[in-house]
């Protein structure tokens, strides 16, 4: 009669946790039982065959190699920070995505998770696992905005336009953002912003805030970390639901910034009350889609949709270089700052806007050009736009400046009468958070 006792204990025999006494007892049986001995020897042979025939050292050399690579990365970041290149100024920079959420009611959680925090944690960990093995990714978003606006700007009344993002992961990540009128490229060393209507390519550090809030889409795992961190500290603010073969995560976020004056409310996604709905594949937990809705009392309006995500596409190197800049010069942020030095300072924001608009009315473009380096660049259309709107205009009044949302500067209300006789009211966006503290006009013209 054949003995198959070993088959019941096979896992224990290969378990380091088995007590020496118990192991000895079994080895003793094996010594006496031919069937079990033969099976045990077969299993040992299988174990030997499955061990890779690799000469692995103590790993010291490999560890040093890894740590050297990591040190290189740290050094690059430190150098850039020390040089002051990492200075977000040109665009409204979405601060760290610390979103303050309102209390949501009627939350439904998957019953398969023991509690909401666990649900979120499990989702995050699996998503990170899915994402970390990524080599590259291609995403397409449809966003309600206008062509020449910043990447984070939205307008609920605008039509959808496509934002495309390509990202290549690696020790020197490369990526590209394209939308009509603007492109941002990170070539592994620097970011480059090409504004089709501008007369230049702006060069910034790897961490420059050229894409604003949209930057978080470059690290899919960051999106989840950001959103799910709420679930960890405020579990009632997110819901996770099972929908067929997908999981739906919904996060509600209230607008960031100070809205004692609501002018900038809903101007950008961070400055809007939003409901963000993520879809993940149920098995792999890979991000499949995202929709962002701006909430209102009447009807929620979808302002951003992730319409396509392709994992590990082959991306040509040419994608990450501006092959043809049409002769536009490359301007670094340092050079931009130096150009800002000739701006006006030690006056109020209202006075600065008064000087700017008065100069427009008098066709004094030299004075106008002192309000932004952008206005002086050869080939830039910006000055032409200002000239076409404000040349020969008459300033009727300047209001009291106010802050709104997360904008680093202030808004100054104005009323002018243009050459046609029509009256225009607006809010000039003006800031002085540059090293020279000179006034720079960002928009509102």
């Amino acid at each position: 009669m054949k003995c198959d006792l070993i088959q019941m204990k096979i896992a224990d025999l290969f378990d380091d946790q088995m007590s020496p006494e118990e192991k000895q007892e079994w080895l003793s049986h094996i010594g006496k039982c031919e069937d079990c001995r033969e099976a045990y020897e077969d299993f040992l042979a299988l174990a030997t065959s499955l061990r890779p025939d690799l000469k692995i050292s103590d790993g010291e050399e490999q560890i040093n190699k890894i740590l050297t690579e990591i040190e290189k990365e740290r050094t690059v970041v430190k150098t850039l920070r020390a040089s002051g290149i990492v200075w977000h100024r040109i665009l409204r920079v979405a601060a760290t995505i610390v979103i303050v959420l309102g209390v949501a009611a009627g939350i439904i959680y998957l019953t398969t998770f023991r509690n909401p925090v666990q649900a979120a944690g499990s989702l995050l960990e699996k998503s990170i696992r899915a994402m970390i093995s990524l080599k590259s990714v291609y995403m397409v978003f449809a966003v309600r905005t206008y062509a020449n606006e910043n990447f984070e700007s939205i307008d609920q009344t605008a039509g959808f336009i496509d934002f495309k993002i390509w990202k290549e992961f690696g020790t020197e990540p490369k990526w590209r953002f394209d939308k009509p009128g603007r492109s941002i490229i990170m070539d592994g060393q620097s970011q480059y912003q090409l504004n089709q209507s501008g007369g230049y390519v702006l060069k910034g550090a790897p961490e420059a805030g050229f894409v604003g809030w949209m930057k978080m889409f470059l690290e899919p795992m960051k999106i989840l970390e950001t959103e799910l961190s709420f679930a960890r500290s405020n579990p009632s603010f997110c819901t996770v639901k099972e929908k067929g073969d997908q999981l739906e995560l919904t996060v509600k976020a209230t607008a960031q910034g100070n809205f004692s004056n609501p002018y900038a409310l809903n101007a950008t996604i961070p400055e809007a009350n939003t409901r963000r709905v993520y879809l993940f594949d149920k098995d792999s937990h890979m991000l499949k889609a995202l929709s962002v809705y701006v909430e209102s009392e009447q009807e929620d309006i979808c302002v951003l949709k992730l319409t396509e995500i392709t994992v590990d596409p082959t991306l040509p190197d040419s994608l990450f270089v501006f092959g043809n800049r049409n002769g536009k010069p490359v301007l670094t942020l340092e050079e931009w700052d130096q150009a800002a030095a000739r701006g006006l300072k030690d006056i109020s924001s209202e006075e600065a806007v008064r000087i700017f608009l008065t100069a427009c009315g008098k066709n004094d473009w030299k004075t106008v050009q002192r309000f932004s380096p952008l206005f002086s660049l050869p080939g830039s259309n910006t000055l032409k736009i200002i000239q076409s709107r404000f040349a020969g205009s008459r300033l009727l009044g300047i209001g009291t400046s106010f802050t709104s949302g997360i904008y680093a500067g202030v808004y100054v209300p104005y009323i002018i009468q243009i050459k046609s006789g029509a009256t225009i009211e607006g809010n000039m966006a003006i800031r002085k958070d540059n090293p020279y503290q000179t006034w720079n006009i960002d928009g509102g013209y």
Partner: protein
């Protein structure tokens, strides 16, 4: 994993200690999947550097070593998928050639053939069973460690291991009998 580490290393010093414990087995595991040391080291290095870059995010991962094993698996399998068709065809041919034992070979070659034959049969097992056997024998992980990686109870891991190994032995025997008959 032999020493409890509850958080992914947050500094180079912590990372060095963490790697001293884990890098050998991570590389063995990658080597088991990829078949050569150079590729294995590259994959392990890439995964660790990427993980370290997002170490803040990984603070909440309760078992970072298990997590890295899974990442190495994914990265290695991804690399395998990327290898070109010609290479795959060569590997298949190797497997086929390993099925024949008509000519005497030197010991080393026989061992290599045996290894390839076992790997070939291992791939015929259910994925869950093959995975556990690979982790136990190739990377020398304990059942508890494997349980952390595959997110299953230790008892389940042991069952998968036992059933897989018994089945593997059975397939080996069947094949040898067929070969001898030939």
């Amino acid at each position: 994993m032999t020493e409890p580490v509850f958080c992914f290393p947050q500094s180079p010093e912590e990372l060095r200690l963490f790697l001293k414990i884990n890098i050998g087995r991570l590389t063995l595991h990658a080597g088991y999947l990829l078949g050569n040391r150079e590729d294995a080291e590259d994959v392990v290095q890439e995964v660790i550097i990427r993980a370290y870059r997002i170490r803040e995010d990984l603070k909440m991962v309760s078992n970072p070593a298990a997590y890295l094993f899974r990442m190495v698996s994914n990265a290695a399998l991804d690399q395998l998928r990327r290898r070109n068709t010609r290479e795959k065809a060569t590997i298949r041919m190797k497997h086929l050639s390993s099925m024949k034992f008509s000519e005497p070979r030197e010991d080393g070659l026989i061992r290599e053939e045996e290894r390839q034959r076992v790997r070939f049969l291992l791939n015929k097992l259910p994925k869950e069973q093959a995975e556990v056997i690979g982790f136990r024998f190739a990377a020398d992980l304990t059942f508890q460690e494997i349980a952390g990686i595959v997110e299953a109870p230790v008892t389940t891991v042991k069952s998968r291991f036992s059933y897989g190994l018994i089945k593997l032995r059975s397939m080996m025997k069947e094949q040898k009998e067929v070969t001898y008959e030939m």
